[in-house]
């Protein structure tokens, strides 16, 4: 069982985001593993373990040859990584990103399953998994909150607005997993040391055979503005009677 996991490396979400003058997201600083992808990494390690053979390959697209987030996932137990770093990809849209990642899957060879998160923390388009599947000509099982492999098929519980569906497809396939699908492990000290020497295959779009045309964006940001702020109202310390304020407030709105 060979599993490829998409791993996005993002600016620390605890630090407020900023835009460049061309309206793209600032990504200069150190990037970290998107927590959303730690679930895919853990799931992949467990599936390979259960299958009793194979390996986990990480794929990532990030600027400036960034590997910090990849090292975290390698320390969890992934075997190797492919990293696409190319100035031509600055401000890439989701379709372009999917094209790049699909090429990485082809480069990894012999892949049975691709795992992604349902959406990234900083981009959250949530379209990349199905876009990759369409590019690869594979089925996609999206929004999985449970994943089981049986023989050559993957069966998932797919999140829906009202509950969940059980959906099945044959492999190879792309599966996107929700947060909480498994409990990600913490890298051990041994894992962290081992990760330092694990192979990271650094490539450009040209290495992947993607033309400049294939990755050209066709959208333009025309305006960025601050949203009208929402004013805070009254704030009080509870002295044991604050509940009365709430009753009064609800009463004033005529909802009780």
């Amino acid at each position: 069982m060979n599993v490829v996991v998409c791993v996005k490396q993002i600016p620390d979400p605890a630090v407020p985001g900023e835009l460049n003058s061309d309206h793209t997201l600032k990504r200069e600083g150190k990037l970290i593993l998107d927590e959303s992808d730690s679930y895919g990494v853990e799931m992949a390690l467990q599936l390979v373990d259960k299958a009793g053979g194979g390996e986990v390959t990480l794929i990532s697209m990030a600027p400036n040859g960034e590997v910090s987030g990849l090292r975290t996932a390698l320390a969890m137990g992934a075997a190797k990584a492919i990293l696409v770093s190319d100035d031509a990809l600055a401000g890439a849209d989701s379709l372009t990103t999917a094209k790049v990642l699909a090429k990485c899957v082809e480069r990894a060879e012999g892949t049975d399953l691709v795992l992604t998160a349902t959406e990234s923390t900083d981009g959250y388009t949530g379209t990349i998994p199905a876009q990759m599947a369409e590019l690869l000509g594979w089925p996609s099982l999206t929004f999985a909150k449970e994943v089981h492999l049986e023989g050559g098929t993957a069966k998932i519980q797919r999140q829906t607005e009202a509950g969940y569906d059980v959906v099945e497809a044959s492999l190879p396939a792309v599966v996107s997993v929700t947060a909480g699908v498994v409990e990600p492990r913490y890298p051990s000290f041994k894992g962290i040391m081992a990760a330092k020497s694990k192979p990271v295959d650094q490539v450009t779009t040209a290495d992947l055979g993607l033309s400049a045309e294939a990755i050209a964006p066709n959208q333009t940001i025309v305006n960025v503005a601050a949203a009208p702020p929402r004013e805070a109202g009254e704030k009080i310390e509870d002295d044991g009677t604050a509940f009365e304020k709430v009753v009064e407030f609800l009463d004033g709105l005529k909802v009780i």
Partner: protein
């Protein structure tokens, strides 16, 4: 301008998110819908009443709806020439949008909260950084433009022609993608109003302390004031309540008349899903919690002390 809406249904009715898109589209041009499923005859009247002239009905043949919808649209786009295709930022909506974007080799704009058309240029507004910053993005290149819009961005209102004409479309060939088959459907039980449609929403966060406190604090209060109960992602991930209750970026967007946040810190990803509420009440023991920056009434206090008293007082009024 001809606009297509990827229509979804729940039971026999179009989803509210679908009707919101149709209502907005009607303002901007003529509207047609693509509907995947076996309820076309049942959903067509409501779609028509909101302004859809024609419904292309696709039989998914047991495969994932979005996948089959994308294949069907790809087959129709050339002959029908829509300028813009709108999707709800939903599960099937994103599947359909993503697959179609590859088939047509078009960029997509997602998480839209607004939409404008000038001549034949189409601009989508989206909110980033937890809704603090609004970004307007214009499509370049060939039509149709593809966009996903967050629920509750527009208000659904009837006002169209009578019934929509239903045109049946053959099950398209989606290749290996069609191998993803839906075997079972599970619907979680719900009491009281739907979260997205309730006039009052009471949500609980990690501050309620434990799973067993959700019922006596959050659900009880919601029930007393005729509201729906919601949650932050922290307690959904912890397994205290089902995902269907999650409010926020990766959960539901709600815009009730009153939103009550109990023990919720107010992370940007949570606020994005409830900031549009008319009135916000927050109870949190940390006076510095970000939720207070949007609260019309903020109570710095312990939910275990304030909420039981509140429940008693409300019961006493009845």
């Amino acid at each position: 301008m001809k606009i297509w809406v990827y229509a979804e249904s729940e039971g026999d009715a179009p989803t509210t998110a679908t009707l919101e898109l149709v209502t907005k589209a009607r303002e901007l041009g003529t509207v047609e819908a693509i509907y995947v499923g076996d309820n076309a005859a049942a959903v067509a009247p409501a779609l028509g009443a909101h302004g859809v002239a024609k419904v292309f009905a696709v039989d998914a043949g047991g495969s994932l709806a979005g996948v089959m919808g994308a294949a069907a649209m790809a087959g129709l786009v050339e002959a029908e020439a829509p300028d813009l295709i709108l999707f709800a930022q939903s599960y099937d909506g994103r599947d359909a949008l993503a697959r179609l974007s590859v088939k047509l080799d078009r960029t997509v704009l997602t998480n839209g909260v607004g939409l404008s058309v000038e001549g034949d240029s189409i601009t989508v507004r989206s909110a980033i950084f937890g809704g603090n910053t609004l970004v307007d993005t214009k499509f370049e290149g060939a039509k149709p433009a593809l966009a996903a819009i967050r629920p509750k961005s527009f208000v659904a209102e009837a006002g169209g022609e009578a019934a929509a004409e239903v045109v049946n479309v053959d099950t398209p060939d989606a290749g290996r993608a069609a191998e993803a088959k839906v075997l079972e459907t599970h619907v979680e039980e719900r009491e009281g109003p739907k979260l997205e449609e309730a006039t009052i929403v009471v949500s609980g966060g990690r501050g309620i302390g434990a799973a067993e406190n959700y019922e006596p604090l959050v659900e009880e209060l919601a029930k007393l004031i005729g509201g729906a109960s919601g949650a932050s992602r922290a307690i959904v991930d912890a397994g205290w309540v089902p995902y269907s209750k999650q409010v926020g970026q990766t959960g539901k967007t709600v815009k009730p008349k009153v939103y009550v946040a109990l023990g919720i810190s107010g992370a940007t990803q949570h606020m994005v899903g409830m900031k549009g509420s008319d009135n916000i009440i927050a109870i949190n023991k940390d006076g510095e919690a970000p939720i207070f920056s949007v609260a019309d009434l903020g109570i710095v206090g312990d939910v275990h002390k304030v909420v039981p008293k509140l429940i008693e007082a409300l019961k006493a009024r009845k």
